[in-house]
């Protein structure tokens, strides 16, 4: 039997970590408790972060929006600031798991679990999310792309936690897009996914593009070459098609129970073509 602690503050959490530094931390439990049951992890104690007030909520700050790492996915999905400014993230949340999973799971958990298929991750990459890492001794900030280093692997030292996510408010992209290809709509782990932010001029030319793919590499894949290839050109099937070989080259998918690598590579490229649906002046972020 393992002790389960539910600290109510960071102060209390640091005390618990002092006493049991190898304790496993969780918030929603939708990943960790599955692994424990399967015998994949065997921590001496558990600390549940669901009641640490300092790790929850969405704060509208001067230039940034701060999201507490233990904020549930459903709270975030319904948050007016997220809906107004970060539709790409809302779209990722909307197709993550199922309602009860979103009521339990947290954004911090989705990041730290670092699944290549994590549905908030491509959005957080294109938004350039900065992560606030805290410990008893202080805090540091790291970009999400530097924090996640492999499947399930993040640069978190013992005694450190992911406390919050910072998103820059000034994001001029009018088009926010996320699409996941899975075997069904709910409860599907992505076979391949793509998040995109685009700015398109009145004459239909792509002025800026940010693209990120999930489930087609050990971490989220970004592809500057593909971004550059569609920038400066009309948002059309023809110009998007030209970028497909660049995407196919950038990704490094694997075969697994959901799909084989070749299929994933093909889908990753073809996901680009969906962006053409935004060309007819339909620049709303819906």
């Amino acid at each position: 039997m393992r002790d389960v602690s539910l600290p109510r503050s960071l102060e209390e959490l640091w005390g618990l970590l002092d006493r049991e530094s190898a304790a496993a931390l969780y918030a929603g439990g939708t990943d960790l408790l599955v692994k424990l049951r399967a015998g994949l992890e065997d921590p001496p104690a558990l600390i549940c972060l669901e009641r640490v007030g300092e790790l929850k909520g969405v704060q509208d700050e001067l230039d940034e929006v701060w999201i507490g790492a233990a904020t549930t996915l459903s709270t975030l999905m319904e948050d007016p600031i997220i809906q107004r400014r970060f539709q790409v993230l809302r779209k990722g949340l909307e197709v993550l798991g199922s309602p009860p999973v979103r009521h339990m799971g947290t954004i911090g958990g989705n990041i730290v679990t670092a699944s290549p298929a994590g549905d908030t991750l491509p959005a957080l990459y294109v938004l350039g999310a900065q992560l606030e890492i805290r410990s008893k001794d202080g805090s540091r900030v790291v970009a999400i792309r530097d924090f996640i280093v492999g499947p399930g692997q993040v640069l978190l030292n013992r005694g450190e936690i992911l406390a919050g996510i910072r998103l820059r408010k000034v994001q001029s992209y009018a088009i926010h897009h996320y699409e996941k290809v899975g075997r069904r709509k709910s409860q599907a782990c992505a076979i391949a996914s793509m998040a995109a932010l685009l700015t398109v001029s009145d004459s239909g030319v792509v002025e800026a593009a940010r693209l990120a793919w999930g489930s087609v590499g050990p971490t989220v894949v970004i592809c500057r070459e593909a971004e550059a290839a569609i920038e400066g050109k009309p948002l059309s099937m023809e110009s998007l098609k030209l970028a497909i070989p660049l995407v196919e080259k950038a990704v490094s998918p694997i075969d697994d129970i959901r799909a084989d690598a070749a299929y994933r590579r093909t889908v990753a490229g073809l996901l680009l073509l969906r962006l053409s649906e935004y060309s007819a002046g339909t620049c709303s972020a819906q």
């Binding site: 039997m1 393992r2 002790d3 389960v4 602690s5 539910l6 929603g28 439990g29 939708t30 408790l33 599955v34 049951r37 558990l46 549940c48 669901e50 319904e78 798991g97 199922s98 309602p99 009860p100 999973v101 009521h103 339990m104 709509k185 709910s186 409860q187």
Partner: protein
């Protein structure tokens, strides 16, 4: 570990290991077998309960997390003498086949209708997306949820939550 919470309206105190799964506490320690275990990994929704009114999976919650919460299981939603309107609709529309998924379906519906009192069929499908029925009786389940929604709209006129 001593845990105090409200279970189906009654203050309950238990002395159980903090890392015991809530589905085991409910079924084996308390004797409420409405919440079912099927996948044990959050994929099927058979173990759905309401925690402070919100649907959660009791196979992915530990006993310690019950502390101070208000828990509703299917046993607390209606009674045999007086079914909850969602339960009546499920029986009237033939939404129940083997019945194993139904406690979860009914509680997930309660959560859905609280958030969206008059959902479209598409919204119902999404709202119940975490609950699997292997008899594949989804059409009648969706019919029943629609009927339950229109009945409560007729009788209660609940306040719209625009979220």
């Amino acid at each position: 570990m001593k845990i105090r919470f409200v279970l189906n309206g009654e203050t309950t105190e238990l002395d159980v290991p903090g890392d015991r799964r809530v589905v085991d506490v409910l079924r084996e320690d308390v004797g409420l077998t409405g919440a079912k275990e099927s996948c044990g990994s959050g994929d099927c929704g058979a173990c759905t309960i309401l925690v402070d009114g919100e649907s959660r999976l009791s196979c992915l919650m530990l006993a310690a997390q019950l502390q101070g919460r208000r828990i509703t299981t299917i046993e607390g939603l209606g009674s045999e003498a007086q079914l909850h309107p969602i339960q009546s609709a499920f029986t009237q529309y033939g939404a129940v086949q083997c019945g194993f998924c139904i406690p979860g379906m009914v509680l997930a519906t309660a959560d859905l209708l609280k958030r969206n009192p008059s959902p479209s069929r598409e919204q119902i499908r999404r709202g119940l997306g975490g609950n699997l029925c292997r008899c594949t009786g989804y059409q009648k389940i969706v019919d029943a949820v629609q009927a339950a929604a229109s009945r409560s709209a007729d009788h209660e006129k609940p306040l719209r939550d625009d979220k």
